[in-house]
């Protein structure tokens, strides 16, 4: 269950609320156990993200990515044990609290902001911007999220290329067309985010599109495996 303030808890953590709104939210949180719990969970995610170690991508990235997506048998958690937060159902639109609840926080929460941060810094995984993009997108979290995302997409696309012959040509065409639809949306969201860097909707929208791409690639891989 949620209320009018639930969706604004992330803004509160990000320091985006006005003085009046912040005071009103804090008053609300005092009397609302659900919001209080959600806020605490968000703080924990932020703390975990901030404590991440910056490390190069592992040789086998997929288990970690899959675990973070909550869709595969987990091995050792590389970042955050998201099994604890695994959603009872998929989320398709993301706000910060939803992400935290859904357990995609570290990878996808940072994904939109990560892209922006990296593009603004002119780096592709190295230097970080001076200021935080959001409360949970510390520099290390951003680097890990961006590297994980890029590696996951590359790995899945390679897999799809390798198994292309095992898929029906019409299925391949449909998958490629829809990946193109998503890529176009990602590009548009990226351009929009450059225009309006503080827009948390755009950041979340970009993250959702990136997640959608990973999800579709995974589906394609699963279809190839099933029919191969």
């Amino acid at each position: 269950m949620s209320d009018a303030w639930t969706g604004r808890l992330s803004e509160h953590l990000d320091g985006e609320l006005s003085v009046e709104d912040r005071a009103e939210l804090e008053t609300h949180v005092e009397g609302c156990p659900e919001c209080r719990q959600t806020l605490e969970e968000l703080r924990q995610v932020a703390q975990r993200a901030a404590a991440l170690e910056d490390s190069p991508p592992a040789e086998s990235l997929w288990p970690g990515i899959a675990e973070r997506l909550g869709e595969a048998a987990p091995t050792e958690p590389a970042v955050v044990d998201l099994r604890q937060h695994r959603p009872t159902r998929r989320r398709v639109s993301f706000t910060l609290p939803q992400l935290a609840a859904a357990g995609l926080a570290v990878m996808l929460l940072s994904a939109g902001g990560a892209w922006l941060a990296l593009s603004q810094s002119g780096a592709s995984g190295g230097a970080m911007p001076a200021g935080p993009v959001s409360a949970v997108s510390g520099a290390q979290a951003i680097a890990v999220a961006a590297a994980d995302y890029d590696a996951a997409v590359a790995e899945l696309q390679d897999m799809l290329t390798d198994r292309r012959s095992e898929l029906d040509t019409a299925t391949v065409r449909i998958l490629e067309e829809n990946l193109a639809v998503i890529d176009e949306a990602i590009a548009e969201a990226q351009a929009a985010l450059l225009d309006d860097p503080t827009n948390s909707y755009l950041s979340a929208h970009l993250a959702a599109a990136m997640w959608r791409k990973v999800h579709l690639l995974r589906r394609a891989a699963a279809i190839a495996s099933a029919t191969g």
């Binding site: 269950m1 949620s2 209320d3 009018a4 639930t6 969706g7 159902r89 998929r90 989320r91 398709v92 639109s93 706000t95 029906d168 019409a170 299925t171 449909i174 998958l175 067309e177 829809n178 639809v181 998503i182 949306a185 548009e188 969201a189 929009a192 309006d196 827009n199 909707y201 755009l202 929208h205 959702a208 599109a209 959608r212 579709l216 589906r219 279809i223 099933a226 029919t227």
Partner: protein, 282 residues
């Protein structure tokens, strides 16, 4: 008698072309059909029996594996992969149903159990279904009517059309519209990248409704007297309402707005990157 029959774990016999057979089944069991291609039509009746009618070549045979909990229907071929088979299956209405295939069209009607249907290329149509219902097609439309329970529905390159639904809804597609009519739900969350979204249903006082797309119009029908906190977000789209709203907050140059209808309560999130967001009266 039924128990005795169930004790025969597998009723597996090569059946002649154009199978038509009736077997006793446990009405509480789950029907599990997996087929490479063709069509699966499932109907219901008030008997503890299952009738399987299948149209197939002489090189295919239909196998029915019976147990107390699961009834499996499979198409087999001596060599190679089984080709398309058209099934028409009649089962007790209380059975759960699970269907999967690659080049498969699925039509299910009258089931009062849980339903799971997945196909790669083909349409899905469900009338009925209770409890947990999940439907997905990669290339094909998904049509649901009369579901009572939790509905998870998806496509990649296809539209979702939901009618007379009572229960939570989660829906997503990449390239297709999502049309929801006569919905009674306290929790709706749907998303498409490229397509229209329409919601015409109830807004529960403590409900949550999240609609999101990248391109395409987003229309929500809101009855007079709705109590809700509404947030609207777009980048290059527009927003319009059939009725006056008093904005409580505006950000990003008017592209992100919040307002309260009535006494608040329900939470409605409307997000369209480039489409027009409309609030309409039914």
């Amino acid at each position: 008698m039924l128990t005795t029959l169930m004790a025969v774990a597998v009723l597996s016999a090569p059946l002649a072309q154009d199978t038509d057979t009736v077997v006793a089944v446990n009405p509480e069991a789950r029907l599990d059909i997996s087929a490479m291609g063709g069509e699966v039509i499932i109907r219901t009746w008030d008997r503890s029996e299952m009738r399987v009618v299948a149209d197939h070549s002489s090189r295919e045979r239909v196998e029915i594996h019976l147990s107390d909990r699961v009834v499996k229907v499979r198409t087999k071929r001596e060599r190679g992969v089984a080709q398309a088979v058209d099934y028409e299956i009649t089962i007790p209405a209380t059975m759960d149903v699970e269907v999967s295939g690659t080049f498969l069209d699925v039509e299910i009607e009258g089931v009062r159990g849980e339903v799971s249907a997945h196909t790669v290329q083909g349409g899905l149509r469900l009338v009925g279904g209770e409890g947990f219902v999940t439907l997905h097609s990669t290339q094909g439309d998904v049509v649901c009517e009369g579901v009572r329970g939790r509905l998870e529905v998806g496509s990649v390159n296809g539209s979702l059309r939901l009618q007379d639904i009572e229960g939570d809804i989660v829906g997503e597609t990449v390239n297709g519209s999502i049309i929801m009519e006569d919905v009674r739900s306290g929790d709706v969350e749907v998303s498409t990248m490229n397509g229209e979204i329409l919601y015409d249903g109830t807004i529960a006082a403590d409900g949550r409704y999240a609609f999101s797309n990248h391109n395409g119009d987003l229309t929500v029908m809101l009855p007079a007297g709705t109590d809700a906190n509404v947030s609207v977000s777009t980048f290059s789209g527009e927003f319009s309402a059939d009725f006056p709203v008093t904005l409580t907050e505006t950000r990003s140059g008017g592209k992100r707005i919040n307002f309260v209808l009535g006494d608040g309560g329900a939470r409605i999130e409307l997000e369209s990157f480039a489409g027009t967001i409309r609030l309409r009266r039914p």
